[in-house]
Symmetry: C2
Subunit: 391 residues, 2 copies
Amino acid sequence: MEFDSIIVRFGGEIGIKSEWTRCVYEKMLMRNIKNALEYYRLIPEAVERKRGRIYIETLRTQEITHKLTKIFGISSVSPATQTSSDMNPIAQTALNLADKIIENHSTFAVRCRRIGTHTYSSMDICKEVGNQILSNLKTRNLHVNLTRPQFTVSIEVREAKAYVYAETLNGEGGFPVGSQARVVCLLSGGIDSPVACWLAMKRGCPITPVYIDNAPFTDENATIRALETAKKLFEWSIGFPRKVYVAKNGENLKTMIEKTPRKLTCILCKRMMYRIAERIAEKEKAEGIVTGEAIGEQASQTMHNLRVTNEAATRYPIHRPLLGFDKTETENIARKIGTFEISTQRARSCTAAPSKPATKAKLQKIKEAEGKLDIERMVEESVKAAKITEV
Amino acid sequence: MEFDSIIVRFGGEIGIKSEWTRCVYEKMLMRNIKNALEYYRLIPEAVERKRGRIYIETLRTQEITHKLTKIFGISSVSPATQTSSDMNPIAQTALNLADKIIENHSTFAVRCRRIGTHTYSSMDICKEVGNQILSNLKTRNLHVNLTRPQFTVSIEVREAKAYVYAETLNGEGGFPVGSQARVVCLLSGGIDSPVACWLAMKRGCPITPVYIDNAPFTDENATIRALETAKKLFEWSIGFPRKVYVAKNGENLKTMIEKTPRKLTCILCKRMMYRIAERIAEKEKAEGIVTGEAIGEQASQTMHNLRVTNEAATRYPIHRPLLGFDKTETENIARKIGTFEISTQRARSCTAAPSKPATKAKLQKIKEAEGKLDIERMVEESVKAAKITEV
């Protein structure tokens, strides 16, 4: 079947916003769709926004449909054939589609959704199309089943036009990227942090990834991996800047290991990361910091340690979208969004991590340890020397 | 089939912890299981912990299995029949089970997992049992299909014992409640906050729910609803305290409305809630505060406003497990855990909410507004007058 249109549906949450907010969100979504299609050189004939829908005219429905499922705010899409809203062309188009998709000896249903003023009801359409299918394809031994049909022919009538389709592909829902303020993300390139970034993007936030480079305690591969995951993530926010901050923290780590209790290294390092992220958030006019931390996933992520690390971030909230996720749940999303393969490539894990990290570090001990360091200068230098990479 | 045992499996994340941590977690799980079964007066004959498994002996397998799926840290359970680890009794038990579950004209597989020293391999067991099923049930027209069987007979050999089973029910995974520090949860009784609580519990945190009572701006039903959701949540942490704080905030709200810009009411109220929660966290020796906020879900939950509300919490991190969730995803969990029905019961929504709440409130304006209030005294009095209810 050659389709000529795509029906784009929005997430249910956009629909329940106030009229004004909804309109702003729909316009953002229009912009994001246009940017993505231009980026992939998939220019459609027309893009039309109606209340609660976007209709795209194109002959490259398959390629465009695929790209649309990676734009947040879209809940689902259907490749369709457009006709006028007159009964005859609708019935003819629906019959053509039925002829192509419905197998012999099977059950089918016709569904119709209608907005606008017409001489018929949705039910009239269903009956007319159903009857035409039964009579025109009668050699096929078809039966109507409205509750659990094997095949469904769907019709969406919208004012003077109608769209006939058989298939609906799910998008990821969420809000259009750009509908929320920017966030800075601590992106390690491991499995968790890219998923946390993706969830923040899904809810509308453009992201600025920050990779904390702990070389010589980590190797070059870790940096490459982080940049590759960032690149993958930016596929979900086409049209937004693709820059990544790489901030060196190796010298800081050396000093920490030299001057402070070994079992506190990871906690002090985490606090340093938050502080670097805060400075970059300020530069980037972001409103929060996102990390891939999950409760109890690592020693530095016990509920207790999350409190004492969190204490270092004084000006921005630390957002942890994975708090309640099991590792397998995070991995499933990582696979879906394409970061899992990158994150599981070999890279040396940080050799600065102590063999027995504190799981219940006392804030006072941490403060004492930090008292031996020139924290302010360390943060300052890491931020000043940070490199911005376009990926 | 009458089973006499239950195989209990742990989440994959428990298995990858250090030997010592794993052992601590398994013991906590043992304790939580015993507490739950005592609570429901479902006393088993025996409970035995082995590495990576708990085996329960009981004739009330169905009831106990059902309760076990509501204990965090358990990834799955299988009702089973116990035998010795000799080949003959295993084969006989497996044949009995096959006889009962496998339908005529179908495909089946035999699976075996073995730990310990035995005179046979797992493969030997599979072959022997498979052959016995084929020959003894040959009138049934059965075929072996190892990749996509319609029925599976499973055998788990563990040292001197063996367990034969057909069915595996999923648990929720996560960590045993009590393996992480306590958290205080702002529980409104709406759809979101109970789900956020549940996710924190799932990752091992005992919870202390705090309901902020905004009467006269909300009605009695809202309070009842919140307490009911708490009761439902405590089904997931049997053996832990079931107390809920109810803290009055209505007088505070009245003062805010009187003295500060109307569009800031929700933000000032949220900041007040965080402060009350912090005081209670201190009393309860908790390590964090959990809320049901999701990015962009409401005007007070824009990324920008999360920052300016978060700023009020200075001593505890605010954890928001639902940050990246779409409303439908939250609702699906609410339905699964049984809070959705309660949360959607009618209750007056807060009449203190302004018709045009600020979505991008300036921190300075907030500080100015709070400057007109005696915040310290307001928090103090709400906490002092807070009632503790056992549910």
